[in-house]
């Protein structure tokens, strides 16, 4: 046994001297396989725990200890996970709409005009994106819960409405989107807009008829990324809502709530099943829009 292994190894060493490409090939398969297994295992693990009946969950091996698919129905009876997901989607759509509208105006200005103050203004936006969410928390909490006076009037109490989460998250998502959109607008050739302007189209007309259609791919990219970022966010989604589904609490509370509210037994299978259900909308989006996500992420992260 050992001698065959030894022989095999010798042969491998010999071919690798004569044919180094082969070593790289095996390195490629080895590294990639480990990487894929490492990445996919936690998803598989959620599935294992979800289908194992809860009373059997202890000292688990790598395989399910039973098969109980009805858990995916029980989840909806135990907690309104679909309402939490719905709330998250509504908040994500609100922020996405705000970010696309405001971000494309700014991206257009930064991407197509060279004006005094361009550099400092872009730098300011970059600096904001460096600040941790914790540095915004207290003032925004007091502002959005109606505990501040502005011009002699108390601010409206937005706590437990989607606005309390959507406002802070727009600030968080805007800088990144502005940078991605600036890059996209820069790539539109100057000639097209100039031609439209020479032919007598107004400034806004050129923006609407020439620039908007051409920047549609960029806008969809930013839209998809913003949606995912907001759907996934934890900090403000957690702190700006009280946790009940009817008060617009997002997915964060649907999942974390199971941990905080557990009483005598920990419902591991419920936790796993709820997590799987919560990840499905995002997984679908990733499958559909993977090209957009990759181009947006690399453009955004590398520009900043």
């Amino acid at each position: 046994m050992l001698s065959t292994l030894n022989k095999w190894f010798e042969r491998f060493a010999e071919t690798s001297f004569t044919n180094p490409e082969r070593i790289y090939r095996s390195l490629f398969y080895f590294g990639t396989t480990i990487f894929v297994l490492f990445t996919l295992f936690p998803f598989y693990w959620l599935f294992v725990l979800a289908v194992t009946p809860n009373e059997l969950i202890s000292n688990m091996g790598p395989f399910p200890k039973g098969f109980n698919p009805s858990i995916f129905v029980t989840v909806f009876e135990q907690l309104p996970i679909h309402v939490y997901i719905f709330n998250s989607i509504v908040i994500a759509l609100m922020v996405t709409f705000a970010v696309i509208t405001l971000g494309s105006l700014a991206g257009y200005a930064f991407g197509r005009y060279d004006f005094k103050g361009r550099q400092p203004l872009m730098l300011t936006i970059l600096v904001i994106s460096y600040f941790p969410p914790a540095a915004f928390l207290l003032p925004l909490y007091r502002l959005l819960t109606g505990n501040l006076e502005l011009l002699g009037m108390a601010t409206p109490d937005l706590y437990n409405t989607p606005w309390a989460v959507a406002f802070p998250l727009s600030a968080l998502a805007l800088p990144f989107s502005i940078f991605v959109l600036t890059t996209f607008y820069q790539q539109i050739p100057d000639g097209l807009e100039d031609a439209a302007r020479v032919e007598g189209t107004t400034r806004l007309g050129a923006l609407y008829r020439v620039i908007m259609p051409l920047s549609l791919p960029g806008i969809t990219t930013v839209g998809v990324l913003t949606f995912i970022i907001v759907y996934n966010e934890f900090f403000f989604s957690f702190l700006m809502t009280d946790g009940s589904a009817e008060n617009w609490s997002p997915l964060v509370w649907g999942i974390a709530g199971i941990i905080f509210e557990q009483q005598y037994t920990t419902p591991y299978n419920l936790m796993a099943a709820a997590s799987i259900i919560g990840v499905i909308p995002i997984a679908i989006l990733v499958l559909i829009a993977q090209d957009k996500i990759v181009s947006g992420l690399t453009a955004g992260a590398l520009k900043e």
Partner: protein, 321 residues
Amino acid sequence: MPEHSSPPLWERPIRFVTFRVEQLSDTQFVYLLLSPVFLLLSIIAFWPIVSTFEMSLYADSLTDPSPIGDFVGFANYVDLFTGDLNALMPRPFFSLENPLQSALIVTLVFTVVSVTIETLIGFGQALILNEEFRGRKWFRVILILPWAVPIVIFGMMFFLLFNSTVGFGSEILHGLGLISTTPFNSTQDSLLLLIIADVWKTTPFMVLLILAGLQSVDRDLYKVAKVAGASRWQRFRYVTLPLVKPILAVAVLFRAIQAMRVYGVIEVMAGCNTVPSLSCMVVGSFQSRYYGTASTIAFITAAIIGVMALIYIWKFREEIA
């Protein structure tokens, strides 16, 4: 003909706006476009930052109905480092006797260790992947998936992997002698698990960024180097590395800033008492209505990130610019 001279009523405001915009100079037009963004940002970003700083100059008010006490200047900052505010907090902010219990050190250790590991593995994997192979499209989906998992579910995944009742993950690492049997009761063990979790979530993202950098390298350069007799290592050392360095520098900075803010995954996975990161401390003291302390920690976190970013940008100014 009257229809031509007077447009329909609903078009009049649009025409008016279009006309007025046409009259503006380029600079005026640009600032008109930028004004909504900066208006929103001043309410939900600039003002909160200033206000947080202002609040950090006031003492906590423990008895008053208003949570903000007397003006104390920079006393909160001094007290945080000398340990005079520790009584208010579940864990000290900074302490050399118990380094792994104090927020500042835990956060810095987490940031340095996880970003280093992620960059090394990410770079290695990106180099391996930098060639054509079948199933590339599917592989890309696998790379994006961990990045796209909501933080709360990400925390839940690793709670379920390493929870001592469930077993499996914690048993394997315990068998290797890395952690105790109940890892979520110990800061040291939880920190290790947190780093493993973070490596899982962000390494694929690093691969994606570095791969984009590698693919922007002109293939002809490799051919030239090969013809000139450069070995694979030399091609890596003198062609790939210098060209990828700027992207690597930006990616590391980007990741380190994110790592310094770590919060949600801790809350779900191990609890903020076990792994007291800086953001955990801000939330903790905010929930106990210690507004002065909370804003001081928040502002110190922001300042550390700022200084880190400045030093880094200064050091790598040629690569980044």
